[in-house]
Amino acid sequence: MLKSKKHVFWEAFIITIVIFLAGIFLGMLVETNNSNKISNLYLQSEISFADTVASSGLIENSDFDCNIIKQNNIDFANRIYAEAKLLEEYEASGKLTEGMKLLHKKYDLLRTLVWTSNQKSLERCNNYNLIVYLYEYESEDIAKKATQNVWSKIILDVKTQNDNILLLPIAADQNLISLDLLIGKHNITHFPALIINNNKVLYDIENTATIEDLLN
């Protein structure tokens, strides 16, 4: 004869909770691991940044070769750009922890520091181009997100075709005092915006030629 087996409700509930907790724990573990990976990269980048700042400080001494300083700055910017790409990937897959957002902010601050530290080098050497790409990180506006996505591709295309570009994509809405001051200094009213060599501000890009025409 058939017997009722209502204990299955509890068994299923417990198994579901166990699987869920294990899944969430595993997810948090993966996200924390990703966060640690980025943190380690960031630490190395901080050291490299201090080195870059030190070398840029020597620029006042005219004996130093501008090409070396240029290469150092561009290499460093490229490195943190690659790290930021990885961070972006981890951020997109991170749903449980908030650590990545903080790291993103730290990288934005680091890039802001690179921007400020390059002012003198650019004036003194003028042998490379500095492109600062300011975008909105928290925007929910789909049209703006799509525009920013396409801008990223255009800028990357320009950078791929020109060796002497120092590219700094920075999230403008991170509440960083230094960044807000720089934004104010350049009278930037809305985002996305592109600052080329600290003197030209673009709010509209048609294609790669729009940027290439303004490069040194």
Binding site: M1, L2, S4, K5, K6, V8, F9, E11, A12, F13, I15, T16, I19, F20, G23, I24, L26, G27, V30, E31, N34, K85, E89, Y90, A92, S93, G94, K95, L96, I142, A143, K145, A146, T147, N149, V150, S152, K153, I154, L156, D157, I205, E206, N207, T208
Partner: protein, 410 residues
Amino acid sequence: MEFLTILYLTYTFIAFYFLMIYVLTYAQNRKQMYETIEPEKILSLSIVIPCFNEEKSIAKNIEAFLASDYKGLKKLIIVDDCSTDNSYEIIKKYAKKYPRVIALQTPKNTGRASGAKNFGIEYVKTKLIGFSDADSLPNKNAISKMVGFFNDPKVGGVTSRVFVNSPKNYLTKSQAIEYKIIAFTRKLLGFLDSIYVTNGPLSIYRKKAFDQTGGFDENNLTEDIEVTWHLVSKGWKIHMSIPAIVRSYVPTTIKTWFHQRIRWNVGGIQTVAKYRKKFFQCGMLGLFIMPFFMFSWFLGITGLFFLTYRLTKYVMMKFLVAKYSVASQVALVSMNDFNLNPSILFVFGIGLFALGALYTIVAMLHSKEQGRFIGHPFRDIFIYSLFYLLMYPPLLIVSFYKYMRGYNTW
């Protein structure tokens, strides 16, 4: 954590929980899936069949019942609901030839099956009472495979397994798959005393239990669900006999299918509304069947909103990016668009999908009619899973709307 993440996790948890109930129930009872019980004594049975404009199928239906190997089948009461075709003439012809066949006609068209069934109930004096649809064809041994469950005096009703008769197009093939999964699920629910519907094509009730319900609720569009809840609320057990097979015709066009499903859903809502006070009370009805119904709706509707929201956002984003990319002469797709780090939500989604797919395959394995591995080509299962199931949530929303507007048309 974002609101959508919390919603998604809640959704996944509930869906996973229900699936886990089925998985465990199956694992613990798989050897009893096909169990039939030898009747201790032959209980007398009358079958009531409502009929409205069924001249094409009624003869086959009567003959299928006449061929039944169950010795206790005393009467076959065919109630014609004032058909405008030749149905009643055919029924009378059979009544003349076979003394077991009783031909009845309602004084005026009742407009729904429950009206004709209630009319026929008055003529039933047997220990068991069964109901069938005029377009359903039970196997010869279907009734014999059901009646043994009545050995248990607490059993008030036994239902059969419905197969779709001659599925031809994708819609009927999808329904054939759906019916098999429903039957498998219903059998599992039987182990939990939680069968929530005794189907129209063939269900048998203990007359004493059925009389306690006062007959079918003629204001309800799904009288078979309502009567089952009524029986369960009165403490009767319902069982399902997997080997008792009845074949039935199903809608062949989207329009008729949609109409049928609206009726089923509105009937379900009417039933929940009628028994709302039993929520979390009254044994398995309030403790599982009703929450199960409600959660199924919740899952369906939130799932639809979630999917629509994400899909719309994704499509709009991709469209705008493509539009701007073309205008700016940059690549439409770049390596940066691919993320090889899946999120935990994605992993949960894949897990749920895999478990769901496994459940479907196991259900099909238990229902295969032909020699094929699971009885249906994978193409049909794919269409069923991807397109047919997606129709459920919009149907539910339309049904809620119609219910609110007082829809009550058969």
